[in-house]
Amino acid sequence: MTARVPAIADGKAKPPRTGSKLGSLLWLQGLSCGALATLATPTAVVAGILLAPGLLSVVMDQAPGKPTARSVMLFGLAATVQPLATLWRTGHHMGTALDIAGDSTVLATAWAAQGGAWLLCELTPLIITLSIEAVSRSRAARLRAARAAYEEQWGLPPEGQQAAEG
């Protein structure tokens, strides 16, 4: 039996990133972070503290494309935009940054948003799976009823027997 040829062979999907490209991207991300920490240290402090769960999920999420980390980061960013805007409006000082980052309300909101996002990512597939299964079972029951009607009407063998005969 021949192995199915991967879709990549057809040139229809993106080729996986090679090790050197991944390294370059990581290097660029590190450079960007370094530049941000050097040029906008208060922003980096606020973002780093408020987005800590998101950054942690980026490290922890091993799934391709890191879908959970993305959602967590999006929710974290949504909760961080307002504190950052406040930081920039108040002069972008280190003290202000520390005050904002130390504000338990701000911190709890950001972290709760990210925790909620993680919970959403974990629960939504489960709920959808349960829903799909219920629909499938209902469909199978209807199909079996239809088949039983055919069996009675046309004298056909039951499903398992037919398969065995086949």
């Binding site: 879908p67 959970t68 993305r70 959602s71 980061m73 999006l74 929710f75 960013l77 949504a78 909760a79 935009v81 307002q82 950052l84 805007a85 948003a113 996002a117 959403l120 990512c121 629960l123 939504t124 597939p125 489960l126 709920i127 959808i128 799976t129 829903s131 799909i132 299964e133 499938s136 469909r139 199978a140 199909l143 079996r144 239809a146 088949r147 055919y150 069996e151 009675e152 009407q153 046309w154 004298g155 056909l156 499903e159 037919q162 398969a163």
Partner: protein, 696 residues
Amino acid sequence: MATAMPTHSPGPSSLDDRSVGPLIGGAYAVDTTRVLPGAGGGLPAFVAVDHRGGDDGLMAVQARPAAPARANVLPVLLANPTEGVLGPLAHGLGRGAGGEEAWFVICRAPPGAPLWSVALGNPAATNAQPWSERELLDCVLRPAAHTLERLHLRRVTHRAIRPDNLFRPGPGEPVTLGCAWAAPPASLQPALYEPPYSAMCLPSGRGDGSIADDVYALGVTLLILALGRVPLAGFDEAAIIRRKLELGSFAALAGEERLPPTIADLVRGMLAEDPEHRPPPALLTDPAAARARRVAARPPRRGQRPLQIGLQTAWNARTLAYAMACDPEQAARHLRSGGVDRWIRRNLGDSVLAARLEETLHMRGADGESEDQRADSLMVMRAVAALDPLAPLCWRSLALWPDGIGPALAEVAGAASSPSLGAAPPPPGGPDRAEVLQQIVATEAVSAWAAARPERCDPVLLRLEAHQHRNLLRTRGLAGGLARLRYTLNPLLPCASNLLQGRFVARLADLLPALEAAATVPEFRKQPTIDAEIAAFLAARSEHRIEGELASLADSAQPERAALAQLRLLAGLQLRLSGHRLPALAAWLAEQLKPALAIWRNRERRQRIERELAGLTGSGQLAAMLAVLEDPQAQAADAREFHDAMLAVAAIDAELARIATGGAPRADTARRIGQEAALIIGAMTLAVAAVAAVLS
């Protein structure tokens, strides 16, 4: 010499419903309470009453089941009434003395007593007075010759001329030939009255023969009447045949007896061994001219020493042929060892005959591929034909004429099924006659026999007939075989199926009422309606080609086809022939048709058809039942819907399989959807938060 009229007196008709039975030919009833002894030419005869015209003086001759009436002769004589003979007026089904169904031939009753009512061998016969020459010529020869000439013009032979089947109203009156139509030709003739080549045959296998055979029988009758006694009275039939072959018929019968010179000359010519040497009936009407006609027949050469073949001693070619016919195994040994050839060359001194026989042995070499017994039988048959071209076909101790195969088959089958059917029992220790007859047909022995004596027969016609018979025998399934051949060659032979319970079913029209009666017997209801005998009977009697239907009957792998074929055949018969209601048969068929209902796949439709069949059973109309089962549109719809149902079920099965095996993909899909939903919600939240931050 003539005895009193048999003890029958037509008298006032005392028929009642019990004794009458069905009317034959729509007019004649058989009164079995009034027997006419000796009037039927060897068969039971009863007074018949004409219900249409009130005609008196009729008789009904009862045919035996295994010895059917002469179907080829009856229509000719019915269409051409012949003077001087008790010709048939009608024939058909009636009830015998025991209440059993039987075939009767209605004739005029004999005008008086038979010339000789005493059975052969009866000592009383030896005291009869010889007839005078004038009486013999005027009362017997001339009228009988006129009658034979009239029959000859109609291409009909009588084959039952003997003193007890010739009748006259009184002394000095011309004789009338008796009834000879209710049994196979010559089957009731003692060997004394038959040429040896007919007498040696199976009684039913003597065939129609020729008018010369009637001349021979008339010659023997004249001789007996002239002598006033029966010659060779103490001899058995084999001895009579042998004596006739050895000495010649006239010498064997007349011997040294003193006969009037005219009678002696006439009888000598009439008893010539070669039928072509016998005077034709037209010549016999003028005894003086017939007496003047002398055909010089060379007497057979007699050997210096005899040749022993088995128990028979041969002195000339005729007795040698007869001995070989009687003991074919010994004959084959003698032929192969060259003993016969040497005897013919050295003792008979007939090198021409020896050369002809040698050709036969060469043909045996050509037959070497075939089975030994068959090849030997062919060799002996050809040798007998070569030695005596007048001899009949002789195959494994059985002799018959080719046109006697049909009645011979009937006789043999009758003897096998019931010895009481009028068939002669086979000799003990002899070969199975049915097997012998089957071999004769299967090997086309008639064709080979005709080729061995082409100057004495029409080989082309016989070869064609033999080929047709073999084809019928070889036809596969219920439409062929020996039974089919038997019914084909005997149009008035009744069907021998056990289902018919002894009913006399010789015509298709009688089959359905007999089956209707059989349907009332519970044990028959478990059997198929058409068994092998009925199938062969149908195939032989049907004017339409029904081989396909009969082939379906034998298809045990598809019982529904067999059941439908039964219904189709019987419904066709009912439509064509009677049209009468057949409720019991319909019910029987409905039971048999249960497998046929399986061809309907739709349960509701099948139940509806079952209900319709049950309803039609009461009406007894088979065609209506067939129409319900053979509705092409409904069948096509059923097949189409079944196909659609199968496709639908296949789709359901595929989907169920997909559902059963799709748990993991569904989980992946659910995860992907959940993640994408979370992303979308997050992006929207971010966008709202960004806008709010900008605007605040």
